[in-house]
């Protein structure tokens, strides 16, 4: 027996062992890291608000005034026009997500964060907002003002 003959199968054997060892380590590492990565992503919260919400009582708002109401987990903006009709919009600015407000002096919807302005139909009129605000349906039920999501046509 000499060393030459013995050394032939060695590298092959080493590579196989190396692959098993490395593969095993990699697999166990993956099995540690995968649950951690999944853990980091928060579970989706069901939007408990549903499609309809009571935004205000009939007597609550005066003409040319606005009010923030809770629509599920997001804020909505209910506006009473000068003629007594209602209008409801999403209150989350489409620019960077601040909460907008009704400016009775301008009769427009204004976002204080970056001076974005929307008209009463939710259209982005000036400033940085890239998209209009979502518009909701409003109807009266008894003495309550009920806001609901627009039905997808």
């Amino acid at each position: 027996m000499n060393g030459d003959q013995l050394s032939q199968p060695e590298p092959m054997r080493r590579r196989v062992i190396g692959i098993f060892l490395g593969g095993g380590l990699l697999a166990s590492f993956a099995s540690f890291i995968y649950p951690v990565l999944r853990y980091l992503v928060p579970p989706a919260v069901a939007d408990l608000g549903g499609d309809e919400v009571v935004a205000a009582k009939l007597t609550e708002l005066k003409p040319n005034r606005g009010k923030i109401f809770r629509f599920g987990s997001r804020p909505g903006l209910l506006i009473m026009n000068s003629d007594g009709t209602y209008r409801a919009l999403s209150a989350t600015c489409t620019h960077l997500g601040c909460t907008v407000q009704y400016r009775s002096d301008l009769r427009e919807v204004w976002c204080a964060c970056h001076n974005g302005i929307y008209d009463l139909n939710g259209r982005n009129v000036s400033g940085p907002p890239p998209r209009p605000l979502d518009v909701f349906d409003v109807h009266l039920r008894g003495d309550e003002v009920v806001v609901s999501r627009k039905r997808e046509a």
């Binding site: 960077l96 997500g97 601040c98 909460t99 407000q101 940085p128 890239p130």
Partner: protein, 359 residues
């Protein structure tokens, strides 16, 4: 007594050999030596942050229903609570300022050059971590300003293509800024960031210790040509004592600011009220905020915000790698990094002032 203890330690751990580098360490002495204090002052303020942060932890409670009330409790009921919190806030701001000043002094004295590239890299990453401390800590009192600043800040993260949205949800702990965000930010602020910062700080200090204090290039040439002109002082105790005087002054400034201008708590955050007028981030984010505001909403076909965020990301990455762009060869383009530093300083200062004054 001390000699006995030293002898005991020396017999077991070779104490004298361990402390030899500290005893032999020298600091170049010249008219710009004062700039060497800035890193140490930043370190001192970081120590204050750790100490006051631990004190605040004794009473602070994370959670949307408790955070604001617990800070209010600290400020009104706990004896000297107002002072501890005020020092924590002021020291945070001063530390960010001295960290920026330290970075620009390193740039202008050209201390980032070979062999100190990694000292620079670790330092810039530390600066980013410090800004992360600022961003996450700002939310913890759960007041209106912090709530909307976090909303806008994380929304900007969400603008990054592909990875932005998952990153935003990861940061917020959901689709919206809620109590879940507060819990996460608290975890980042008191566990994740301190851990990372401790490791990087250790590396940064070891590198400084190992490589010694850098000399400005002009002096380096002069002193090499004429070794008799060389002036140095011992780090221990000569430089350290001077440094400690600087810390004492910093402590005085900090104490005065914290006592005379106690930090406000503001109004408790309510996700269902409109954003108040004049929402602005903390001053150290203002230059980025103002830049984003100035970019038009559409540049060609890309969203202005997306472009701004990507540009800042790229600049940040290049900034980390800055020393690797300076070649060893003396060429006529050698001064460009200094030019860049002056430009960056002017840009950050100008945009911050503009952002502060702008409506």
């Amino acid at each position: 007594m001390f000699a006995t203890i030293r002898h005991w330690l020396d017999a077991r751990f070779d104490w004298d050999d361990l402390t030899a580098p500290l005893r032999h360490k020298t600091v170049p002495s010249h008219r710009l030596s004062y700039w060497y204090f800035l890193g140490g002052i930043t370190l001192f303020l970081f120590g204050i942050q750790v100490a006051t942060g631990i004190l605040l932890l004794l009473y602070y409670r994370p959670g949307a229903n408790e955070a604001f009330e617990s800070v209010q409790y600290i400020m009104t009921r706990v004896r000297y609570g107002w002072l501890i919190r005020s020092i924590h806030s002021w020291s945070a701001n001063l530390m960010i300022f001295t960290a920026f000043a330290h970075m620009f002094s390193v740039l202008l004295l050209k201390a980032y050059r070979k062999p100190r590239e990694l000292t620079w890299v670790s330092g810039v990453i530390l600066l980013f971590l410090v800004m992360g401390f600022g961003f996450s800590g700002y939310l913890l009192p759960w007041n209106t300003l912090a709530f909307f600043a976090t909303k806008v800040g994380t929304e900007i993260t969400g603008q990054v293509p592909v990875v932005g949205k998952p990153m935003m949800i990861f940061l917020r702990g959901g689709e919206e800024v809620t109590g879940a965000t507060l819990t996460r930010f608290f975890g980042f602020h008191v566990a994740v960031l301190p851990g990372l910062a401790a490791v990087l700080l250790l590396l940064h200090l070891l590198l400084v210790q190992r490589l010694g204090i850098s000399l400005p290039p002009k002096l380096e040439v002069q002193w090499t040509a004429n070794p008799s002109a060389k002036r140095e002082m011992k780090f221990f105790p000569n430089f350290l004592l001077r440094e400690m005087m600087a810390w004492y002054v910093a402590l005085g400034v900090l104490g005065a600011l914290a006592a005379v201008f106690p930090w406000n708590l503001g109004v408790k955050a309510d996700p269902f009220v409109p954003a108040p007028a004049g929402i602005k981030p903390e001053w150290y984010f203002l230059f980025m905020f103002q830049t984003l505001k100035l970019i038009p909403s559409k540049v060609w076909f890309i969203d202005g915000e997306v472009l701004g965020v990507l540009a800042f990301g790229l600049v940040g990455l290049l900034w980390v790698l800055l020393p690797f762009f300076e070649s060893d060869q003396p060429t006529r383009t050698k001064g460009w990094i200094t030019g860049l530093a002056v430009f960056a300083l002017a840009y950050i200062a100008g945009m911050s002032v503009y952002g502060h004054l702008a409506k």
